[in-house]
């Protein structure tokens, strides 16, 4: 392609200078226009292959042929890699379905102009939907600072510095929301979903539909008020699009899902998202009593301690005198009372959280573009809808913590290979968590998630761990406790004290041994032609199920102590997580590793 050498004039140079400082987007836009004018809408070397391609995502896009370009572009290209004029039009314009006219000169004969799908943006109301939750989450993130600020300065009237501090905390969030709204563009083109975002720090992501693990629609309070919806798409090996398609109108969301389905080449399946289809009877529906019970059994000691710590901190700052009195009047009964209070508070808190989070939990079957699937809907304020197709299920697990098991319930989670941001923002693989399942329905739910499972894991007996594993655990406990007992006995200097100390340690040893025996007896494994089942946990029983055709790699490992006892551990990897078989004799472990290779 022949390109005019646009003479780099002074104005251009100036702009390049400013450009490196920031505010890329407007300048880039102007600059583009400027160049075009200068060249009378001729071939403009806006994108030259080497310099403008930054990541693989961009490479998915049809490339424009390379051409020589003015020097100043070489200078700026590392900073503004993907800038194209039409990316930066105001939202409303970008919603127009017609390709902006001035983009035409960009299209080379090699690619048909019609193939260029228009980019779409977020709904303008996304500002409203995102701003308040984001502000709240920022404030929550700064809570220690805010507490210190509120209580630390006493009851003084607001000062100008306070406003400044608040500004300092809030402005970045507001700015990023604005940038998000004005820069996010997405489209389905060439069978792939492309999403671009960012002002200074641009990112472009391309998702192939057949890699999509699951799609969820999320609506918080503001989404529901404004009739918008957030679409989250999770793929294997990539992080989710959480927070990216944060506010689409329902029509846009539906159009997007339909396009994605069409791109998967299964138009018939588009009917799956059709609201007119008669809803399947739910597999499971949870009411308030179950959810309350779930919350009560989920409340932990850790939360109680945290609540106590925060409470005492606030008291110390607001009412120092009373705290002193309290400390003086502290008696064992009062301390126990306080502890009970804190535990009760934590239970209440987690019960309420469970009610809000899982309100109206409904699990039902659903046809997805890739065959049968499951759909879960839940949430009081933030409504979540998750749909996943069964052949993307990697791991199904059930936990029955002691209390919940006494009540006759367990919790099931179904994992696919996608990544969702879990608590603490760490990736967690659980896509669908079914909070409360009656014990005699756990097996049924396992079969719903993995139809190849032809038996009820709660009705069959598992193979035990190797007996030598118990011997090993017992030896480890004895080796752990004996030196401590001896050391304490000697340190106590003989006499009654050392006998008592040694007895205490021996009591501990007895507990360790009991634990080892219980733990060992709880372990179990089962390999059938289709699935692998694992069991563990004496007090908090857990059961895991994976389909053998989802196995990725298997690793057999043996430490020095294992070798002493002739034991080995087998770890099975599926996409997104892994499970470990109980200790087995080396030969058995190798045989299972070989056997697992055969199927799948």
């Amino acid at each position: 392609m022949a390109s005019n050498q646009a003479p780099p004039d002074d104005a251009d140079d100036e702009r390049t200078e400013v450009l490196r400082g920031g505010l890329l987007e407007e300048l880039e836009f102007e600059r583009t226009e400027h160049l075009r004018e200068a060249q009378g809408h001729g071939d403009t070397p806006l994108e030259s292959s080497g310099l403008f391609s930054l990541d693989s995502a961009t490479e998915e896009r049809p490339r424009l042929p390379a051409g020589p370009h003015p020097d100043d572009e070489t200078v700026m290209s590392p900073v503004a890699p993907r800038a194209r004029a039409e990316d930066f039009e105001p939202t409303v314009a970008a919603l127009d379905l017609d390709e902006p006219e001035e983009a035409a000169p960009l299209a080379e004969p090699a690619e048909a102009p019609a193939a260029e799908t228009p980019w779409r943006g977020l709904h303008p109301a996304s500002l409203l939907v995102n701003l308040i939750p984001r502000t709240l989450s920022i404030l929550l993130g700064y809570w220690p600072l805010l507490l210190a600020w509120l209580f630390g300065r006493g009851a003084v009237a607001p000062r100008p510095e306070d406003a400044l501090l608040l500004m300092f905390i809030l402005v970045p969030g507001v700015l990023s929301t604005l940038v998000h709204l004005f820069t996010l563009r997405y489209r389905v083109s060439g069978g792939r979903l492309e999403i671009r975002q960012g002002l200074l720090n641009r990112q472009a992501r391309t998702l192939a539909p057949d890699r999509i693990q699951n799609v969820s629609l999320v609506r918080n309070l503001f989404h529901r008020a404004s009739g918008l919806v957030e679409v989250r798409i999770e793929t294997a090996g990539d992080s989710s699009t959480e927070g990216l398609l944060s506010a689409l109108s329902v029509e846009d969301a539906e159009a997007l899902l339909t396009e994605l389905n069409a791109a998967r080449g299964q138009a018939a399946a588009a009917a799956a998202t059709d609201a007119n289809a008669p809803p399947a009877p739910p597999i499971l529906r949870l009411g308030a009593p179950e959810l309350l019970a779930y919350g009560f059994t989920a409340g932990g000691l850790g939360l109680a301690i945290l609540l106590m710590a925060v409470g005492s901190e606030v008291l110390t700052v607001t009412r120092p005198d009373e705290v002193n009195d309290l400390a003086r009047a502290a008696s064992p009964t009062r301390l126990v009372g306080l502890g009970v209070l804190a535990v009760a508070a934590s239970w209440t808190f987690s019960a309420l959280r469970a009610l809000v989070r899982h309100h109206g939990f409904t699990l039902s079957r659903e046809a997805t573009p890739k065959g049968p699937g499951l759909r879960a809907v839940e949430g009081l304020f933030t409504r979540r809808e998750v749909s996943l197709s069964l052949n993307k299920v990697q791991l199904v697990s059930a936990v029955e913590p002691f209390l919940r098991r006494l009540m006759g319930f367990g919790t099931v989670s179904i994992e696919t290979a996608g990544f969702t941001a879990g608590e603490n923002g760490l990736p967690a693989a659980a896509e669908v968590l079914i909070p409360m399942v009656e014990q005699d329905r756990l097996g049924e739910l396992f079969t719903e998630a993995v139809p190849a499972l032809s038996l009820d894991p709660w009705a069959v007996s598992f193979h035990p761990a190797h007996p030598r594993a118990l011997r090993r655990a017992v030896m480890a406990s004895v080796l752990f406790a004996t030196p401590i007992a001896l050391g304490l006995g000697i340190a106590a200097g003989g006499g009654l004290a050392s006998v008592l100390a040694a007895a205490g340690v021996l009591g501990l040893l007895a507990l360790l041994l009991l634990r080892a025996v219980l733990h060992h007896r709880a372990l179990g494994w089962l390999v059938t032609p289709d699935v692998v089942l694992l069991r563990g946990g004496a007090i908090r029983r857990s059961t895991a199920l994976l389909a053998r055709n989802k196995l990725q790699s298997t690793h057999l490992s043996q430490g020095p102590l294992d070798r002493l006892h002739g034991l080995a551990h087998l770890t099975l990897n599926v996409a997104g997580s892994s499970v470990r078989l109980p200790p087995l004799a080396l030969a058995d472990a190798v045989a299972i590793q070989e056997e697992l290779l055969r199927e799948g």
Binding site: A236, G237, K392, A417, Q552, S553, H555, S557, Q558, L597
Partner: protein, 157 residues
């Protein structure tokens, strides 16, 4: 079953790598510990402690690669790639060929001196290589990579 072995040159490669770790990481630590031990006592004590630590590590980094080489075996079997290794902690990994997402070979600066390459095999299970075979002559590494790439791979998730 007799597994395929690495190129024996890998022993010297690993020794060289251990030496460079020694120089940049363990060496300074030994010196630091020596200086620390010399504080408040005779300087000779410090030298003794630092030197004996360094000597121990040196002997270990000369011996260990040979043991590691002895324990390393791999085989490209009908359905999987089998990699077995480990002196104290032994590991036997089986990567089904059809699960392979991609394979690559790479060569660090010291490896280049020895003319050796590493083959790394990735599945959908993890971010890091699920199986890797270090210390192969570059031509052989490339042959294995191509063989794995040819025989492996489906959607797999």
């Amino acid at each position: 079953m007799e597994l395929r072995r690495l190129d024996p040159r890998v022993i010297w490669l690993w020794r060289a790598q251990a030496m460079s770790r020694m120089f940049f990481f363990w060496g300074p630590i030994c010196v630091g510990l020596g200086v620390l031990a010399a504080q408040g006592s005779d300087w000779r004590v410090g030298v003794l402690i630092g030197a004996s630590l360094a000597l121990m590590l040196l002997v270990l980094s000369l011996l260990w690669p040979a043991l590691d080489f002895d324990r390393f075996g791999f085989e490209l079997r009908e359905h999987d790639l089998l990699v077995q290794r480990g002196v104290l902690f032994r590991r036997r990994s089986s990567i089904p060929l059809r699960r392979i997402q991609h394979v690559d070979t790479h060569q660090g600066p010291i490896e280049r001196l020895f003319g050796l390459s590493t083959v790394a095999v990735y599945t959908a299970a993890g971010m890091s290589a699920d199986g890797s075979i270090p210390g192969l002559p570059t031509a052989e590494a490339e042959a294995i990579r191509d063989e794995l790439a040819r025989r492996g791979g489906d959607d797999g998730v």
